[in-house]
């Protein structure tokens, strides 16, 4: 039982009733027989549009496995992943073109910024836009707008190696937002940042959820910024606890 929060406020007005993400009894088993490892067991979660969710838990609890299953990178052994109203995984079976779906509907932010090293900050954002079909000038302008909104427009021409950890993470957020996805998944995005920068990034996700109506799941160890989240889940031994509403 989660004992971190003793208040149970309702979800904020910015949170829609429509579901952005729903997982049903997701299970992931690696290996078989004597080498079988259950990384995730019956993990169910609902994230509404505009809702920002924190996923806590110790190392090896299955958080990343859960996130990669929801992110359509790593198919579950059983269970379902539904994004919006589309059934994506029914067990390990993909019901749609995963890469196309990821391109249009999912934005990722990782512990390490994961920028393409041979592209500048602007180009890292622009590439996501161009992959989704935007061309030349309009993709460039949109990339600059996003960088500007995240306060790193002045570093647009810099390669990732010339940016600080916080700046890189902001560029990664800009890339995740580029195609206005329905779902944003972030895996310990503040691990490489100081507490001040870490909080800024978390607030950024919160704003994105509110302004874009996206469902946001953030895997984090950083308990200092939990007040930013609408709901908190905890994972232990591959299981997801019931969500606790923490939001403002």
């Amino acid at each position: 039982m989660n004992i971190l929060f003793d208040r149970k406020p309702s979800l904020g007005k910015h949170v829609s009733d429509n579901l952005a993400i729903e997982t049903k009894a997701l299970t992931k088993i690696y290996g078989s027989g004597n080498t079988e490892v259950v990384a995730m067991r019956d993990a169910s979660m609902k994230v509404r549009q505009g809702e920002i969710v924190a996923l806590l838990g110790p190392s090896g609890a299955g958080k990343s496995t859960f996130l990669t299953a929801v992110g359509l990178i790593n198919p579950p052994t059983s269970g379902q992943v539904i994004i919006g109203e589309t059934l994506i995984y029914d067990g390990p079976l993909a019901m749609t073109n995963l890469r196309l779906f990821r391109r249009k509907h999912i934005g990722y932010v990782f512990q390490k910024s994961n920028l393409i090293p041979f592209l500048t900050a602007r180009e890292n954002v622009q590439v996501a836009l161009e992959l989704a079909g935007q061309r030349g000038g309009s993709a460039r302008r949109r990339a600059m707008e996003l960088l500007d909104s995240l306060g790193v427009a002045d570093r647009a021409r810099n390669l990732p190696s010339m940016l600080s950890g916080g700046q890189q993470q902001r560029v990664a957020v800009a890339r995740a937002l580029a195609n206005e996805p329905n779902v944003i998944l972030a895996d310990e995005p503040t691990a490489a940042l100081d507490s001040h920068r870490g909080r800024q990034v978390m607030e950024l996700f919160s704003n994105v959820a509110r302004e874009h109506g996206a469902g946001v799941i953030v895997v984090t160890h950083d308990h200092r910024a939990l007040d930013v989240f609408d709901t908190t889940y905890e994972m232990e031994d591959g299981k997801v606890t019931e969500g606790i509403v923490t939001g403002s």
């Binding site: 890469r99 990722y108 041979f118 592209l119 590439v127």
Partner: protein, 403 residues
């Protein structure tokens, strides 16, 4: 946005070095092709330049380029009498190696049929054709001789009066042109001691003959210079060249001459075929096979380089897949880089070749056809060699972006 170009710009130094390495390799492939072509061109150059319709050589031999051929000088007069023959001339050709100014020099000696032929047809870059029947020579520039230079060959000294270009013998040695008489003098030159011994032998043989007792003057006469003795045949030539009159049939004239029992007859094309299928065939095959091997090696090296370049980008490729890049974007990234590498390497090979090949001891001829053929091969190699990298890239799991 072109990801291939962006990656190249980011690693421009490394990419340039790789392209330079591939360029050097392709230059060797290009050079081998050029040497191959040069061997063929050199082999048939003389046949083309002498422009004879029919080559008449010693019976059952393959002509002066394949083996020793000796025909009498009087043959040209017999040939001139054949119906359909416009003119006939002597041909003397042999290779010598002498020392000149402390260095060995190999010369392909070619005799011009003086006084009909002064060498006006020879492409000169300096000087003039021959103007006297002795002690003048025209040297190809590859021999390294200078205009006006004196060259001692045997007992005589010859002056270089003209410098030719592109006149290479079938063995790849530069040609020096002399009059027929001088060419034979160079070939048959004997030291004074050998001449004295020859005379002594003749005198001794005569002394054993009864005639020496009855005609003592004969003993004295046989000891004279050999060219003063009617019983000793004059020096022979390598071949006789025939030009057929306009409108006359080369085949008919050749057929008439081939009926003679002391000579063999070849048309110009037959002489070329004999050369290409005979004396230069093995070197031609060897260079051809070496060229094929080099091309395969170049393909393997390019494949390994491209595979390594792909391995370096595995994380970026996984990331691209993660954010939804379709396979064609990743394929394009690898194939475009392979093509840029191949095309850059080809351009570097061509540029370096232009600077280096003229310094090679043998002619390296880059024909348009060979260059286009190699360009196509490079493009095919580039695409094929990228397959290994593509195979690796296709195997990349988007999950790897998270590791």
């Amino acid at each position: 946005m072109n990801l291939a170009v962006k990656d190249i710009q980011h690693n421009v130094g490394r990419f340039a070095l790789t392209a330079f390495g591939i360029g050097m390799l392709l230059m060797v492939v290009m050079g081998m092709g050029g040497i191959y072509r040069g061997v063929i061109e050199d082999a048939i150059l003389l046949i083309d330049q002498t422009d004879a319709d029919i080559w008449v050589v010693q019976r059952d031999t393959r002509g002066p380029f394949a083996e020793v051929s000796r025909v009498p000088r009087t043959l040209v007069h017999r040939l001139a009498a054949v119906p359909g023959v416009e003119s006939s001339r002597e041909f003397v050709y042999h290779t010598i190696q002498r020392e000149h100014e402390g260095r060995p020099i190999r010369i392909a000696v070619l005799g011009l049929s003086w006084p009909d032929d002064h060498g006006e047809w020879i492409p000169l870059i300096a000087g003039r054709p021959l103007e006297q029947n002795h002690f003048e020579m025209i040297a190809d520039k590859t021999l390294g001789l200078h205009l006006g230079e004196k060259v001692r060959l045997g007992k005589e000294t010859y002056t270089v009066v003209g410098i030719s270009t592109g006149m290479i013998g079938t063995s790849g040695d530069g040609i020096a042109f002399f009059t027929i008489a001088d060419a034979q003098a160079v070939q048959l030159d004997k030291p004074p001691e050998a001449l004295r011994l020859d005379r002594e032998v003749r005198r001794a043989q005569m002394a054993e003959n009864d005639m020496s007792a009855s005609t003592p003057a004969l003993t004295e006469r046989v000891a004279r210079a050999s060219n003063e003795l009617p019983s000793i045949a004059p020096p022979e030539m390598s071949a006789a060249l025939v030009r057929v009159a306009p409108g006359a049939s080369v085949e008919e004239a050749a057929s008439t001459i081939s009926g003679w029992g002391d000579v063999s007859v070849y048309t110009q094309q037959q002489q070329k075929d004999l050369l290409l299928k005979g004396s230069v065939e093995k070197i031609r095959q060897q260079i051809g096979l070496f060229r094929v091997l080099l091309t395969i090696i170049a393909a393997i090296i390019m494949a390994l380089i491209l595979y390594t370049l792909t391995l370096d980008k595995i994380h970026s490729i996984a990331l691209l897949k993660l954010i939804g890049a379709p396979n064609r974007v990743i394929l394009g990234l690898i194939i475009q880089q392979a093509l840029v590498l191949g095309v850059s390497g080809y351009a570097i090979a061509y540029f370096l070749g232009q600077q280096l090949f003229p310094r090679f001891p043998r002619r390296v001829i880059l024909t348009e056809q060979d260059l286009i053929q190699l360009a196509v091969i490079v493009i095919v190699i580039s695409i094929l060699s990228s397959l290994l990298g593509i195979w690796r890239a296709m195997k990349v799991d988007p999950n790897e972006a998270l590791s």
